[in-house]
Amino acid sequence: MRRLFPFPLLTLGLLGMWLLLNQTVALGHILLGGAVATGAGLAMAALKPQKPKIGKPLAVLRLLGIVATDVIRSNFAVAGIAIQGKRRKQTSGFMTVPIDMQNRYGLAILSIIMTATPGTVWLNFDAGSGRLLIHVLDLKDEQAWIDIIKNRYERLLMEIFQ
């Protein structure tokens, strides 16, 4: 099993995508999609990537909930700033956040979260010093942003990718 499905989640995800794209759960499509997904999993194994260890499904769900609420809240906040345009006093700026997480998959997910949330843009991460440079649209309180990133996202991500 391990040999045939080196990345079971990837294979399952691809099969799910295949079925969604074809809008069917017919046996023929499950077999065909399964074959393609298995091949893709084997091709991935040939690239020898570092294997992600994803644990704690509850933490994954909690993170999804947190990100969803934050994305909705910041959508409204940034919409307000965008409507005010140039009349508004400029509060944007750069800041650095110290990041303790070293897992590259965790960092990749963190970058997606930060970019998907309007109002923060991931600029540069220095793996050596663990310093993350971001640009924040509404930078009134640097410490508040550090707390959000470290306590709301990073801690859960470190739990998920031990």
Partner: protein
């Protein structure tokens, strides 16, 4: 053949409201892109269209076609997955290119590059 009139009123109201909401967020995001001051400010606002704007419109589409075809249509979820995974790539590429250029031009409004990253990497992992 599916005609627009086949959609029941309650579904039409929900779908219409969601579509207009998503379009409004996208429009405000584009407005911000035009109105804000610096490049780094402007790069934030189009994210409205790629987050809530996209979500509202794909939810509207899912409801509309689920009701019209009387079966669950979920393929729009893939749009959401691909948009959320690919947006950071373009956004980071643009922002970092701007940062690189500003640093090269000696623009004082951007933070300088981290000094000697190689030396710092060794300090952080003495056993490596």
């Amino acid at each position: 053949m599916i005609a627009p009139g086949d959609l029941p009123l309650w579904a039409a109201i929900i779908v219409g409201a969601l579509t207009i909401g998503g379009a409004a967020f996208t429009l405000v995001g584009s407005f911000g892109l035009w109105r804000l001051r610096s490049f780094y400010d402007r790069v934030h606002t189009p994210t409205l269209g790629t987050s809530l704007g996209t979500v509202l419109i794909i939810v509207a589409s899912m409801i509309c076609f689920t009701v019209l075809e009387s079966r669950v249509i979920l393929q729009e979820l893939l749009i959401f997955v691909f948009v959320s995974v690919t947006t950071p790539v373009t956004l980071m590429l643009l922002a970092r290119a701007a940062l690189y250029r500003d640093r090269a031009e000696g623009n004082a409004s951007v933070p300088p590059a981290d000094p000697q990253p190689i030396l710092k990497a060794r300090e952080a992992e003495p056993d490596a």
